[in-house]
Structures are given as C-alpha cells and as structure tokens.
C-alpha cells in the first residue's frame, strides 16, 4: 500500500520555513539529476556539490519547521510524504533542467537572489533562521560566482551557446517575479522582524543580473509579466514528475530505511 500524505499545520512560521526548505530541496534535486550527465567531469562535480549544499540547507530548514510545528513531522516526512499541492517552492526551481544553458540561467537567477536573501536573513530575530542564513550565504556566494562565470562563457561563446543562453533567459524570466512577492502570512512575520522582506532586494538583484547578462552579451526581456503560484501550492506539471522520482521509495515501501 502506498504511504499517505502527512498533514501539516501551517502556522505562518512553519509555512515560511517550509517555503525556503522546499526551494532548497527542489533545486537541489534538479541539480542532482545532472549527476553523471554533465558536459564534463568538473561540471558534474560542481553541480552535485551545489546540490549537496542545497540539500544540507533543506535538511536544516525542515528540521526547524518540524520543531516549530511541535514534532509530529520530521525532515523526511516533509520531503517524502507531501504531494504537489503541499509543496511551497518557487516555480522557477522546479522547471526542468533542459540544456546546460537553462540549468545555468535558473541557477544564476536563484543564486543571485538567495545570496542577498540569506545575507538579509542573518539579521532575523529568530536565532535558528539567522544561524541557517549565516551558514547558507557562504555557500550561495560560490553558487553566484559559478553560474555567473558560466553565463558569461555561454553568452559570449559560440553562436549556438549564445542562442541557447538567450532562449533560457527568455523562457525563465517570467518565473523571477515570484521570488520578490510576499503574502499576508509572511507580512506579519516581516513586521515582527522574523522574516525577510524580499521586495527591497530586487534593485540590487537586478543590478547583479543586468551586469552579468550584459557582460555575457545577452539581454533581459522587456516583458515584465510574471507567473506565480508555487508559494501557495499551485505548481507547473513538472513538480509532480520530480516528486514521483524523489518520493518513489518511501511511497512504495513506507518507512524503508538503510
């Protein structure tokens, strides 16, 4: 018999923490899909390394969410026993790897954001969140540098790499707005000094993005229409496929350990 979904009591702090944990897990899982398939050995190791950083961040955040929730769930239950509608990650991060340019652009958009976000979160009045942020920002600094260097190499590379990098930017751009959106549940935590308001980070993010994109001889789209939904559990069809792979063992053999 397949394992059933857990129920989660989504208080604002639990929801806030789960959103960040889901971001890290889903992007980490996407990067792990490159393992053994990257264009070269060094890149295979780099993508797996970054995936590992994200997995570590996810574990810390899930464990904290479990503690705040009162201990009825744990990191594994959050990861393995929630269905698509219960996941709260950004739509950007569940988008398929596509070609290497697409993975690079997705990584770049998110890492440049996460780096600013974690640095801001170091000032959270919640000591656990601020400790996780201080740990994570050191890692995100490497992720930004790595993806920036690749984007420049791809954009300013061959005709084909340029074309693919530009196509990736055009395709993923509409998912970047969600990073800076805030709902009522988060607003209260922001006012209390626990959560971080992402909106004021956007100018600096855009600055980093623009300078790298222009050095890469690429361009950002004019279109500012943004897609949203991940934060409230409305996902693209891709997340279900991702979860079916991520969760298959626990769903088929509930409680399996090794």
């Amino acid at each position: 018999m397949a394992a059933a979904n857990i129920t989660v009591s989504e208080t604002p702090l639990v929801l806030y923490t789960l959103r960040r944990a889901d971001d890290a897990l889903i992007l980490g899982h996407r990067l792990s899909e490159w393992c053994g398939h990257a264009p070269m050995l060094e890149e295979d190791m780099a993508l797996a390394n970054m995936g590992l950083d994200l997995l570590g961040q996810a574990r810390e955040l899930y464990s904290y969410a479990a503690k705040v929730e009162g201990g009825r769930n744990d990191e594994d239950k959050f990861a393995y026993l929630r269905d698509v509608r219960q996941y709260r990650n950004l739509l950007l991060l569940e988008q398929p790897n596509g070609d290497f340019a697409r993975t690079t652009v997705r990584q770049f958009f998110y890492a440049a954001f996460a780096d600013l976000y974690w640095r801001a979160m170091m000032r959270s009045s919640d000591p656990t969140l601020s400790a996780i942020a201080a740990k994570s920002e050191k890692e995100s600094a490497y992720h930004v540098r790595h993806s920036s260097e690749w984007l420049i190499r791809l954009g300013d590379g061959t005709e084909e790499s340029h074309r693919r990098a530009q196509a990736a930017i055009d395709e993923l751009w509409a998912f970047t707005g969600e990073m800076f959106s805030v709902d009522d549940s988060e607003r209260g935590l922001i006012d209390a000094g626990i959560a971080i308001d992402p909106a004021p980070l956007r100018p600096q993010w855009l600055n980093t993005i623009s300078s790298v994109v222009s050095e890469a001889t690429l361009a950002l789209p004019d279109n500012d229409w943004m897609q949203q939904g991940g934060r409230s559990g409305r996902h693209s069809e891709h997340l279900g496929h991702l979860l079916s792979e991520l969760q298959s063992i626990q769903r088929s053999f509930p409680g399996a350990t090794w």
Binding site: E42, A46, R59, E60, K135, S136, R145, S148
Partner: protein, 167 residues
C-alpha cells in the same frame, strides 16, 4: 564505570582528548580539532556533551564524524555521550589550526588562504602549489572532490591539486 570516579573537569579533559583524535573521513590527515569542527565538550550531571559544527550545510561526513566520536569516547570509557550539531557561529577556514594547514600541505592539498576575498565575484586568487611551491597555478573548477575543495593545476610542475576553499 570510569565516569563515576572522575571529576567533571577530568572527565571533560578526557572526553576532549578522545574526541579531538577523531579524523575527518575525507581528509584523514586532519583531526576534527585541526579543522575546527569540534567546537566544545561539556559535562552536565556526569554526562558528556560534544558540540560539532559542519563545514558545509550538506557535508556528508557529519554523520560519520558523529559515529566516530561516539566510538572514540566509548573507547575512553565514556558511555553514551550526547552529540550536538551547532550552526552558529558558522564554521570558517580561519579556525583551521596552523598545524592543520601544514598537515594539509604535506598531504598534497593547498591550505585555505586566510581571509581571502570570497565576495570578490571574479577576484584573482593566488594559490601556491602544494607539490612544488610555485605560485604559477590556475583554477580548473570551483568545486572539487568534496564540498570543501576546489580543483587547481600547477603550471610549473603540471600537477593538478586540491585546494581547501576559503570559507
């Protein structure tokens, strides 16, 4: 049991001695004390509590290190210690001992440079080759065989080498 006859201070000392001998499973020339992963040993009501901190969030060696600490303490006659993972303050390569840096170099891994400019997006780094000492080296990949290392190559002796990333 040994713990019954030792004072808290002696017990703490014995536990630190034992725990500090545990080596990193991925870089076995370094102890967790050299690395700065071992943060603290406390005795509370006769029970030993060891605090460790991960180098990177996802460092897969942490579970192994916990187990090794338990075994090392067990061998020193200290049963069932509590092992706690602390995140704050976050681990930094600045905590690595001088002894640890020398051991790394002798092992063929370039030690982390003290407070280098991690934030400089495309900052130039100068890393000396641990084999021949030449400064004529180049970065091959930001990410190496483990989370904490990058891959470099020496242009003088042509040997590739691991660099323990500044963090």
């Amino acid at each position: 049991m040994v713990t019954a006859v030792l004072s808290d201070a002696d017990l703490r000392w014995r536990a630190w001695e034992a725990a500090s001998q545990v080596v990193d499973p991925e870089i076995p020339v370094l102890t967790i004390a050299d690395l700065g992963v071992l943060r603290d040993v406390q005795v509370r009501d006769g029970r030993v509590e060891v605090a460790i901190t991960p180098t990177y969030s996802g460092c897969p060696a942490m579970n192994m290190i916990e187990l090794e600490i338990e075994l090392a303490l067990e061998r020193a006659g200290i049963a069932r210690p509590t092992i706690r993972t602390v995140l704050s303050p976050p681990w930094t390569t600045d905590w690595m001992s001088e002894d640890g840096r020398n051991k790394l170099r002798a092992y063929g891994i370039a030690p982390p440079q003290a407070s280098s400019s991690r934030r400089a997006l495309f900052g130039e780094q100068q890393v000396a080759c641990p084999q021949c000492g030449s400064g004529d080296t180049e970065l091959l990949s930001e990410f190496g065989s483990t989370s904490c290392k990058a891959l470099w190559r020496c242009k003088a002796c042509r040997e590739p080498f691991d660099y323990f990333k500044c963090h």
